[in-house]
Symmetry: C2
Subunit: 531 residues, 2 copies
């Protein structure tokens, strides 16, 4: 047995069966072994951002880690933006990154980094990153990585080529999973008392509290205490739509979040951090929590959130049913100008039961997400939980690979969609059942808004040209077809509705370029800072 064989056995024995990869020369032994087994599905990606983002999407829907196979420092670097997103989502991933042979690194061949090692690069977005020192070490690291990734860690194993081909011992037996720390009985009793003290309260939910048993428990706790349920701004996965427990997500801008949270005297955090502004602005507070609101952390993201909610529901003797369930919103097919509002209404009516809705829609996505709250029941995944744009196509790919029997719909802002556009090809390669809705406005609308918030003065043409994609305009139908994905363009609400209905009725990837007429001017006037 060589190192590549031993490593692969460690990963498959731990239950990992999906590999997202863009391999290179130093990974050929592993490509060879992956080709000899039917136990692992190998998804080729044409750029590493697709591979790591897909592993994030896969984890969120499969509930178990995939592994990536990346090529040396530059391949690892290309995947870092989406590993960052995955890290902030709490998605577990095993990365295998090739490297020069242990004895060759000192000769400084071309792929060696000028001021560090591959593990230094990977470490900033990994819970741990280690380079194997021998062929047998490789499988030990792989087994450890698989165990840790199962509890939501990102683990990077740097694999020098000679560790692949040298003789290796059999891998260690699969390691027992790590148990997550539980909330103490004191914490449960304290929060139970808090929620019964008569103050206006909200639970701010994150991670496992936003879907499945976690969300149901939160709904029952709300029923027992009269608390409101809020969700973290960019949820990795939230169950919503008809019959699901309603949750209101915290708004992006602090000046919108603060008035919302001002309704509550106390805020209990369940698997999330105190809400703060994504960016600081000159002369503005960064906290989204108003001064009078008391914040208590019940469980952190690293604890067993569902167990804590179970204990809290029991302590409160919570009723069997949640405080409320969402009703289906009745919508008629929109007509006329195509806007995010029209898209939201079409989607609210047409989104199939049990769909996966991935949002990388930035400004226009906000409206569409709001309008689909009362669609058939579905899961909503915010693509880039760490704020790195362009995770939409990769996350949708990973979700579709994890759940081949569910329809995935991706809200894809045009500017954001360009960062990892290569993901389209992998959708086609995998016949992934994904409908991509490109929300085209030919600009980074969020940056046009942010330019208006710079206090120095109004934006001129040169500034605006730095945040606009209109010279030339991108042709998303050609971009899609060039990658092997069929596509069409919609310029009215009627065209969009018909195309969406047709796309949802077929299987496999399809892209609709929605040429949107949204006017962000009014929004900019609202958020503009006084000078």
């Amino acid at each position: 047995m060589n190192g590549a064989q031993s490593l692969l056995r460690a990963l498959t024995e731990a239950g990992l069966d999906t590999c997202f990869t863009n391999p290179g020369t130093s990974e050929m032994h592993l490509v060879y072994e992956l080709g000899r087994t039917a136990d692992v599905r190998v998804v080729l990606c044409l750029q590493e951002a697709t591979a790591t983002g897909a592993a994030d999407g896969y984890w969120r829907m499969a509930g178990k880690p995939a592994f990536t196979l990346l090529h040396v420092g530059s391949g690892c670097a290309n995947g870092i933006g989406n590993l960052h997103n995955a890290g902030r989502a709490g998605s577990g991933i095993v990365n295998i990154v090739g490297a020069n042979a242990t004895y060759h690194q000192r000769n400084f061949p071309e792929h060696e980094l000028i001021n560090g090692k591959v593990a230094d690069l990977a470490r900033v977005v990994s819970h741990w990153a280690q380079e194997a020192r021998s062929a047998s070490d490789l499988a030990v690291l792989g087994a450890t990585a698989a165990r840790d990734a199962k509890s939501g860690s990102i683990c990077t194993v740097v694999a020098p080529t000679d560790c692949h081909w040298e003789p290796a011992a059999a891998p260690p037996a699969p390691l027992a999973p790590l148990s997550l720390p539980r909330a103490s009985n004191d914490a449960v009793a304290e929060v139970a008392a808090l929620l019964k003290n008569g103050e206006r309260s909200a639970l701010l939910l994150g991670k496992e509290a936003l879907h499945g048993e976690g969300l149901e428990l939160a709904g029952r706790i709300a029923a027992a205490t009269g608390s409101m349920l809020l969700g973290e701004m960019w949820p990795r996965r939230v169950a919503r739509g008809e019959d699901r427990v309603p949750v209101t997500l915290v708004p992006y801008l602090a000046e919108m979040a603060v008035p919302m949270l001002q309704q509550y005297a106390q805020l209990v955090l369940v698997g999330t951090l105190p809400p703060v502004s994504t960016f600081a602005y000159q002369g503005a507070p960064v906290s989204k929590v108003p001064p009078g609101c008391h914040v208590t952390t019940f469980v952190t993201a690293g604890q067993d959130i569902v167990a804590a909610l179970r204990a809290l529901a029991a302590a409160l003797d919570a009723p069997a049913q949640p405080s409320g369930r969402l009703a289906r919103t009745a919508v008629t097919a929109p007509t006329g100008t195509l806007t995010s509002d029209a898209i939201g209404r079409s989607l609210c009516g047409l989104l199939p039961q049990n769909a996966i809705l991935v949002n990388d829609g930035t400004t226009m996505g906000l409206t569409i997400v709001q309008r689909t709250q009362g669609a058939r029941s579905h899961d909503l995944l915010e693509a880039g939980c760490g704020g790195s744009l362009g995770a939409g196509l990769p996350v949708a790919l990973g979700a579709a690979v994890a759940c081949p029997d569910r329809k995935t719909v991706l809200l894809q802002a045009d500017g954001a969609g360009m960062y990892a556009i290569q993901g389209l090809w992998s959708l086609a390669r995998e016949t992934a059942d994904v409908v991509v809705l490109v929300l085209r406005n030919d600009k980074y609308a969020v940056l046009e808004m942010e330019l208006a918030r710079v206090r120095e003065g109004d934006a001129n043409e040169k500034m605006l040209s730095t945040v606009r994609l209109d010279a030339p305009a991108l042709d998303w139908v050609k971009l899609a077809e060039g990658h092997g994905v069929p596509a069409s363009r919609a310029t009215t609400a009627e065209e969009f509705h018909v195309q969406l209905e047709a796309a949802l009725g077929r299987r496999g990837p399809y892209l609709i370029e929605a040429v949107c007429a949204d006017d962000i001017g009014a929004f900019i006037d609202v958020v503009r800072k006084p000078r």
Copy 2:
């Protein structure tokens, strides 16, 4: 004056006038200031790999640094692969990377990395990376970065948002450039004696020794000593074609390089490292230098290479003319099947005087580069000097921005071209005078070759599907048009020749998808390892 204004003044007073950027919220103050000045050309890129690769190409042709403006950790990460290439090329670049406000980072908003800081990420591909601590500090770091980048360093300044908007002192006066260390008189005398000792000698040239005065001096030294002139495998810039001093590049595979170098008893390194294999292979040596060949380092890449060659030519009393100059190769327009050989012959005949030929052509590029040795005089840039694929479009963009009056031709392998395909849009935005020749074979041919070198057995279909891009095939005409670049497809040598002639006769970007019929099977048989 605020920090952004002070930083920008530091950069422009140091002579930097070109910015390749993909900005985000935290960089809006700098976008604002860039919009207020006509002193800086702002090139918007839709993914950061384009920005950093363009800065590399710009440096090679302009001989001075550009600066990049990137958005936080994820934007920096996307640019790392091409910063690595730039670092191995020795191209000087100033990176300005936005970050959260100093006082907000501790709140761990979404963009904060889970296990490090932006500077930790940038450092591995930078000579130095530092985060500004105040608005005034920002300009000091900018001035220092500009100075160091002029001598070939990559310097990364992490710029927290509050350092942009807070009041700042005026920037320091532009710093005096750093002088490069010179070769000692002893080293010159020693190498002069060595080259006169009657042994068969070769100079292995890198960096500034491969073009301009450096290459002329090397040619004169060759005339004085009878030495051969070799060039490093992946030159950042080599002058070639009619009337240029002939240089033979070291082959990629050690088994081809060793027999070539076996002709020489001694090898003198001029601005390059001892040649080694890019990757190690099981049971094979990694050095390209045969056991009997004596290696002497005359000057390193960090020294003043041209001054050293000047001193050596003087010590040798070298003649005024080099040992030889390349003659124009007479070619007739190829006919029939379209292969890299046919493309090379077309290009040899048609490449305009003073063109810039960028090579990201991997396997097929090898043949085309060989065939164009006797074209009209031109500069050849190997796109990815650090081996990170996909630098072609970015480097071509940067070269074209640096030299608007020269035609740039890019040899772009199809697999490699997908890593940073977004560069096409920036070519269109800038009306860059670049002809992109996509060498389409629907596979990572180099990996198909490398799979054959794995000693375990022959590749099966699953293995091959991991290195092939044929399911579905990419349509490069649509990909180009989708990004705003006009394009056409050639499937015969005649079609290609006519399209190339037309493309070279117009201005602005144009892409030709060359559907190549090269058979790599014969090559694979040559390099396959015995089992």
